[in-house]
Symmetry: C2
Subunit: 215 residues, 2 copies
DNA sequence: ACGCGTATATTCGTAGACGAGTATTACGGA
DNA sequence: TCCGTAATACTCGTCTACGAATATACGCGT
């Protein structure tokens, strides 16, 4: 079992990743993260940032250096990474890269309860998802091409990976939609029937009672 | 903006998904979830379960019916879904299905700091990841085939989706590894140099200083 | 030279997530 | 029949995440 990290929040990893470059104060870390677009989705959570920095310090992964004060403002504490911090950073990245981990994406949670919608509703919504997805993909491809011109690939692999996976998602949704649209999806009739009559077709009752994956 | 849910935890969605079938007490919900393998990764978090059930009740999405007591044990409260709960369930699933959302998978976080490892280390770790992934995929394919025989596809789409995405991940990792192995990955020399000399090649210094994605 | 919007920089309170503990019952074997 | 182990069913306390509030500095339009 991966020994659990003293500071588990992924934001802490990002912080270590910035402060390894040069000493910084928290707000500066946030700005650097923001500049890198590391945040676009996960918008900087100020609360967490200071908690996490505090914890990193408590566990000796970073340490305060100067605590300069400018004008009458609260003093900005500048942190520097320690050897332990550097070690933790490498170890953490090694773990993340080497070990696939089952995550629970929200879409999957939705899919697992897709039966709660009517087939027609599900179809319409998936179509919507697909079109948004396609738009976003176009944008991502463009950005990647633009940045790829001036930056080493190494700085962009996360984006390449993200793009690849989202493309796979789009492909999957398209295939699923096709089956729904042309009626070849097996069980479509029963699914529809269930929503019209409000009852499960008899052959499913026992199935619904127990779980669907009796491992 | 998606109005935020009164109860945001995804576990709450799962709970609604079980209790919509018939009234249940918390422990029973957990068992049903476990049976469905909904947990294998996200092992049931007992603490959260009762908090979440409490919150669902507080917001009128479920309500207590009988509070039977057997023997001297603490009374088991049985909950039933309300109309509001049913509405919330459908609305939530609709949202999850219709709207792609940027998530932050752990692997991606690792990739974005891949530069912290040496190319050789990264290669070895990715190979490890790939082999674990392949093994898991074989397992998933087998399970899916086995279950697919006795269950309607609708009950298994999350698994199909998950399989498809993990396959895409494996494919991507394979391609990346190939580039690293045959040395065609651009910037490989500089990456290696950085770890040998401890300094960035001059052409990257300015890049490292500002962010990599000046959106 | 004076507001005023925006960027800088951090603190604090609270809701929620979760691990670990607790207590009872059922069951199977020696 | 007696004990140990597994399953049932929950409670509690801690630790964390995060939103929202706060307060000052700076640039620029008028």
């Amino acid at each position: 079992m991966a020994k659990r990290r003293k500071v588990a929040n992924l934001l802490a990893l990002a912080v270590l990743g910035t402060v390894v470059q040069r000493p910084m104060h928290p707000y500066e870390m946030a700005s650097m993260l923001r500049e890198r677009g590391k945040d676009q989705d996960m918008k900087i959570k100020w609360g967490s940032l200071y908690t996490v920095v505090g914890n990193l310090e408590k566990h000796g992964l970073i340490e305060a250096t100067e605590t300069a004060r400018q004008g009458a403002r609260p003093e900005r504490t500048v942190y520097r990474i320690t050897d332990a911090g550097r070690a933790e950073l490498v170890d953490w990245v090694r773990e993340l890269v080497s070990t696939p981990e089952r995550e629970q994406p929200r879409f999957e949670a939705g899919l697992s309860l897709l039966g709660a919608l009517t087939p027609d509703d599900a179809t319409a919504l998936l179509r919507h998802r697909l079109s948004v997805l396609e738009e976003e993909l176009a944008g991502q491809r463009a950005t990647l091409a633009r940045l790829g011109a001036g930056l080493p690939r190494l700085f962009l692999i996360e984006d390449e990976y993200d793009l690849a996976l989202r493309e796979a998602e789009a492909t999957w949704v398209r295939a699923f939609l096709a089956e729904l649209a042309d009626g070849t999806f097996p069980g479509l009739a029963q699914w529809r029937e269930f929503h019209e009559t409000g009852r499960l077709p008899p052959e499913f009752e026992e199935i619904a009672e127990r779980g669907s994956t009796p491992d």
